[in-house]
Symmetry: C2
Subunit: 383 residues, 2 copies
């Protein structure tokens, strides 16, 4: 299917935070950052893929018009929490297929206050439950998934909480992270219980932000003097299969999608989990990071808890997972998350991640999942 590698020659993102800035302002910062890093002229962009969940139609165009960029086809896409990666994946396909030489993928989100279901179109009914004091639907689903994992494999609350300790610790070194405070295991466990086993410090915050990436062919990169660009060597997008829902709570949080997407990427790339150095994965809740270790084949089924206990997923371990702080601490503006993960991995593979640099990182893996559903897994390689 893919016919050639895809280069990522520019990435940009805003700081993730709650802010009063307009979405166009956020997009401009992210896109400008990506354009500047790549040295690409907007005139070179052949298509643009804009990811966002909340907002009126054609906001992608509106954001670009505000920068004086018109004339190129803009595709506005959404897939809940994996919206950003959906935009990235369409861009990837445009280049990998040989159709285009240079495209832009960007994503953004202006979230409102309160649980997700009160903010998103179509979830108002569920939002009313939240008004009556019910835990947010996402916390319920990822909490149930965590509890199923505990029952099946003996995973402990402490192991889930340690994920959050790690990611908050990583974010101390990320100036674009919404939160930058380390916290102890006791603090995580003692914070307000949202839905068993999830305490508030194990739930990603509500965030605004934008991210962007310039994708191109190797020929385009070389012609523009970029001799060793970071490449996407494999990418796969999956959707739930009917049988996934029969797996119980773990099925409902996209474990089937994640496993299939990872397997496809490993096969496409001919590179396996042992060769990976750095990973940005979808830790919307602490439970999902631990479960995803297994979906990405970092360890056998049921042994995710061991990885975190043995410090295999942080600096000094076999992989560094979520050096950016992840969704848990960096934040999770839905449409922006997939592009922010991409930006972090590109910076890591270029050795530009400053204090959070993973030493000698050569291979990076990105995992972004949206219930509803879509999962995108992407493998990056240093040039």
């Amino acid at each position: 299917m893919a016919k050639r590698d895809v280069c990522v020659i520019g990435v940009g993102m805003t700081k993730f935070e709650r802010c009063d800035r307009d979405f166009t302002d956020l997009v401009h910062e992210a896109v400008r950052g990506a354009l500047e890093m790549s040295g690409t002229s907007p005139d070179d962009l052949e298509q643009a893929y804009a990811g966002y969940v909340n907002g009126m139609s054609t906001q992608g165009q509106r954001a670009l018009y505000g920068m004086g960029i018109g004339g190129l086809p803009v595709y506005n896409v959404n897939n809940y929490c994996s919206t950003g990666s959906t935009a990235l994946h369409l861009g990837y396909q445009a280049i990998a297929s040989g159709m285009n030489e240079c495209v832009l993928a960007f994503g953004f989100e202006k979230m409102n206050k309160g649980p997700l279901e009160k903010q998103l179109l179509g979830l108002e009914e569920i939002g009313k439950e939240a008004d009556k004091g019910a835990p947010p639907i996402a916390a319920r689903m990822f909490g149930d998934g965590g509890r199923q994992h505990m029952e099946l494999y003996g995973t402990t609350k402490e192991q889930f909480a340690k994920v959050s300790v790690k990611n908050h610790r990583h974010s101390v070194n990320n100036p674009r992270s919404q939160y930058r405070d380390a916290c102890t295991l006791d603090e995580v466990l003692a914070s307000r219980l949202v839905y068993d086993p999830l305490t508030i410090l194990q739930c990603c915050p509500t965030s605004d932000g934008a991210g962007a990436a310039i994708l191109c062919s190797e020929e385009y990169a070389n012609k523009h003097g970029i001799s060793r660009p970071v490449k996407i060597v494999a990418q796969a997008m999956t959707t739930d299969k009917m049988e996934d829902f029969a797996m119980g709570s773990l099925g409902w949080i996209g474990v089937g999608m994640s496993k299939r997407a990872a397997q496809k990427v490993y096969e496409q790339a001919g590179i396996g989990p042992d060769d990976i150095d750095v990973i940005e994965l979808h830790d919307c809740f602490s439970t999902n990071e631990l479960v995803t270790y297994e979906s990405l084949q970092l360890c056998p089924e049921g042994q995710g808890g061991r990885l975190i206990d043995e410090d295999q997923v942080t600096y000094g371990g076999k992989w560094v997972v979520n050096p950016s702080g992840g969704l848990l601490s960096k934040g999770h503006p839905l449409g922006a998350t997939g592009l922010a993960q991409c930006a972090e991995l590109v910076w890591q593979l270029l050795g530009k991640a400053e204090k959070r640099q993973v030493e000698n990182a050569k291979i990076g893996l990105q995992h972004n999942v949206g219930l509803g559903g879509a999962c995108v897994v992407t493998m990056y390689q240093r040039g």
Copy 2:
């Protein structure tokens, strides 16, 4: 850019109407129709592109899950009134680039009552003006465009009204059309004035509905026993350029986008307007159909009125424009419109359009424009 022709081997659509059916029910009818016509198994579909404006995220997946179709990547896209064609265009690119062999594009919309801006996310503020009695924003924009055309070229109110008479007459023969009543020029002119020069019979109605198309490579079609499929021989998508907005009201209704998309398609195909037999174009308001004759180069700038006066755009004329009844009479469920236009042209080119068949139709042209903006022009050829 495009490397091979794209075949449309199956199309389906619901009747357009105001109805109580759920969007999933509408999608199922349209997709089932397309699958049955093509003889394609859902297992053969590699990707799906779902177009809709109004509704929560991942509704494309939800609609397919309800048919037992899971596992394939689904891209939910929007571009206001050209949302359906945006889905179609992504499907086209997937096949034309050689990336995929068989994909599904579908679109749907459940509209609410009242003017568009009261229904669509992000337009609530404009909706409040409508509550105070202001004409709907779309009528104002397309009315202003029409008046600018009158001032520049001497086009008359009667000429605009004749477009509506023609399309309502065509729809008498379309069982899927929301309205099926012919009306006289006097009736159109005497109907309630919405915004000068537009009377209510010159404005498309509010509609629910769905459409779908199965796109594939020629190799796939032949392998599945379809020897002479209808082909998309060229397709282009454009967005507003900054200078378009300086053209005044005509610029704001997408004339620049339409002209560029048509020109690209004629160049790609090596086939010009004189070779076209049948056209489905975006007549959201009567003014836009007349203006679009010029954008599609059916006549020189300013002479659209002459075409309608001389009956050149109906049965017996040089082209049949909107044999389906167009948006004006058939209806305009935003996400579905681009797929419904595609369905009509495929049926016409296969000789399956029954009472509204354009005799010996070989070449069809589709024009779908969304303010915001995106315009998609597509050329179809009989196999």
